[in-house]
């Protein structure tokens, strides 16, 4: 099953955030469909649209792997199914 999800990263800018996140996604067979990233007053903000192949790595496993990255880099990472944003922000 392919699940589309939104990944958002928020935290202090530092070397290696994009690398660590994309490496973890790649290791869990998660495809990055789109990516947007900005830095406002030193705060790193990245949002990604990703597709999770749940047969290779279930949603929960990807979430747990990202939790480890968040802890290591001291940033906030959330992974949420895309439907919630579509429901709330599109008529």
């Amino acid at each position: 099953m392919q699940t589309r999800a939104i990944l958002s990263v928020l935290g202090e800018d530092r070397v290696g955030i994009v690398a660590a996140v994309s490496q973890t996604l790649s290791a869990n067979a998660v495809n990055i469909e789109d990516i947007r990233q900005t830095i406002i007053s030193g705060v790193f903000s990245m949002t990604m649209l990703v597709t999770i192949d749940e047969e290779q790595a279930p949603f929960e496993q990807v979430q747990a792997a990202l939790d480890q990255v968040a802890e290591k880099l001291s940033v906030q990472i959330t992974l949420q199914r895309e439907d919630v944003f579509r429901a709330m922000h599109r008529v």
């Binding site: 939104i6 958002s8 789109d34 947007r36 900005t38 903000s45 949002t47 649209l49 949603f59 929960e60 979430q63 959330t78 992974l79 949420q80 199914r81 895309e82 439907d83 919630v84 944003f85 579509r86 429901a87 709330m88 922000h89 599109r90 008529v91």
Partner: protein, 454 residues
């Protein structure tokens, strides 16, 4: 379709900082098949039915909360009114059924089970009487069971005898749980125009018009609505305020509907309704009173409160109705005093009184809710307060309810703690000029003219 980063940030802000959550996923269960002529057999059947049918409710809700990043605060169960199922069993004390429900609730990990209930708006049946008599013991010996009694409808009128009986039952329930501040009464609601698909406690009951199993979801979000009102320019007019609330209500409702559909799909049961009620919590800012104050009333309860609340309630319904075709339940702002830190402050400041709350109940859902009153309030006075709330519901074809807690030994102004979402707050003063002689008349208030609609 790409979702804009600002939209993602807004959602994360609503959930992370403004306490937006799904207040409850409630599984409605028919227990009509559990009828038995023996009380032990009835209790066992009820336990088996509830524990089996709801075994997956909590894990499924937790998984949805994790995957969607939306907290789901409560997982609950509503069963058919126990008085109807217990009619064929002759036991005087029906509290063993409440104990069975309580055991099942602990077994499957749900927060509350509603449905220790009777509908007596036209008359009190023999089993209804046994259920009402069993309420104090049932609520004293369990901690997750909720009881409710419907005493009036617009169609049938008001069963004043039943209200007087409930005045006595409220007092007896407070006495039975006196060592915990009368907390049993926090789990007991007296209704006018009770609905069949309410997911909120303490009044959730699985109605006889419902399928055997159904998922109903109650949304929340006073904090998110307050934040959007506060973000408006100070001179934004009330049409702009209404528009902003409506847009937020749409978003909150869509989130609730998504959760309802997904929970029903995963559990393999019918998706019922989304209840658009705005349910406050004791958390700072997650308050209906705070929204009214953000709109420009100095303190909730002051002049202008009823108008502001009416606007809020209406805008929530309009946005919510656009967000789902399955609006139902109570769908209106809640004003439970001890559960709302802003209401508590308003009472302490002398801005909010029982009489003002009664006026407010005319324009929102659902009545005189979570109000601590002095322990020496008489049964007749309690009945008269309930009767006033019912009259507003009956005359306006809406649901109203009373959840009054006569705190044993407490006087007006003293502070009581109920804990958790039930909150804490001051004991409110009661007008001493109650209709005691009115209560003693008994009888029934005939249905109002608006009942004749055919």
């Amino acid at each position: 379709m790409w979702i804009e980063p600002e939209e993602i940030a807004e959602t994360l802000e609503m959930i992370g900082r403004q306490h937006l959550d799904v207040r409850t996923i409630t599984l409605g269960l028919s227990i009509r098949s559990c009828a038995c002529d023996d009380i032990a057999g009835l209790a066992q059947r009820v336990y088996d039915r509830v524990a089996t049918a709801s075994a997956r409710l909590v894990p499924v809700a937790d998984a949805i909360a994790r995957e969607y990043g939306i907290p789901i605060v409560n997982k609950r169960i509503a069963v058919s009114p126990v008085a109807e199922v217990a009619a064929s069993c002759g036991a005087r004390d029906l509290s063993p059924v409440a104990e069975a429900l309580d055991r099942a609730a602990h077994e499957v990990g749900v927060d509350f089970v509603g449905g220790f209930s009777a509908l007596v708006h036209k008359g009190i049946g023999e089993a209804d009487r046994r259920l009402i008599d069993s309420i104090p013991a049932a609520l004293a010996t369990t901690d997750r069971v909720c009881a409710s009694v419907n005493v009036a409808t617009t169609r049938a009128g008001t069963n004043w005898d039943a209200i007087v009986a409930m005045g006595q039952t409220v007092r007896a329930t407070a006495q039975a749980t006196a060592e915990r501040g009368g907390i049993g009464c926090a789990k007991l609601v007296v209704f006018a125009n009770m609905v069949e698909d309410n997911p909120f406690m303490a009044g959730a009951v699985h109605g006889s018009g419902e399928p055997d199993e159904v998922i109903n979801v109650g949304i929340s979000g006073p904090g998110a609505v307050r934040a959007v009102v506060e973000s408006l320019a100070p001179d934004a007019d009330l049409t702009e305020v209404a528009e902003a609330i409506k847009a937020t209500a749409f978003k909150i409702t869509r989130m609730g509907e998504l959760v309802a559909r997904e929970a029903a799909r995963r559990l393999g049961v019918v998706c019922g309704i989304v209840d658009l009620s705005l349910a406050p919590t004791p958390a700072e800012g997650d308050s209906v009173a705070a929204i009214i104050e953000a709109m420009g009333v100095e303190r909730c309860g002051g002049p202008g409160t009823t108008l502001a609340l009416a606007l809020l309630n209406d805008a929530m319904k309009k946005g919510g109705a656009m967000g789902t075709s399955s609006a139902g339940g109570l769908s209106g702002a809640f004003i439970p005093v001890t559960e709302d830190a802003g209401m508590v402050r308003a009472v302490q400041d002398g801005a909010l009184t029982l009489e003002k709350l009664e006026a407010m109940t005319a324009v929102c859902s659902v009545g005189l809710d979570m109000i601590a009153i002095p322990g020496d309030t008489t049964a007749e006075t309690i009945a008269a307060i309930i009767g006033d709330a019912c009259a507003i519901g009956v005359a306006n074809s809406k649901t109203t309810a009373a959840r009054l807690i006569p705190v044993p030994g407490a006087k007006a102004g003293e502070r009581v703690e109920f804990g958790g979402l039930l909150g804490a707050g001051p004991v409110m003063a009661v007008n001493p000029w109650a209709g005691v002689r009115l209560a003693r008349r008994g009888g029934r208030v005939p249905a109002p003219l608006q009942a004749l609609r055919n």
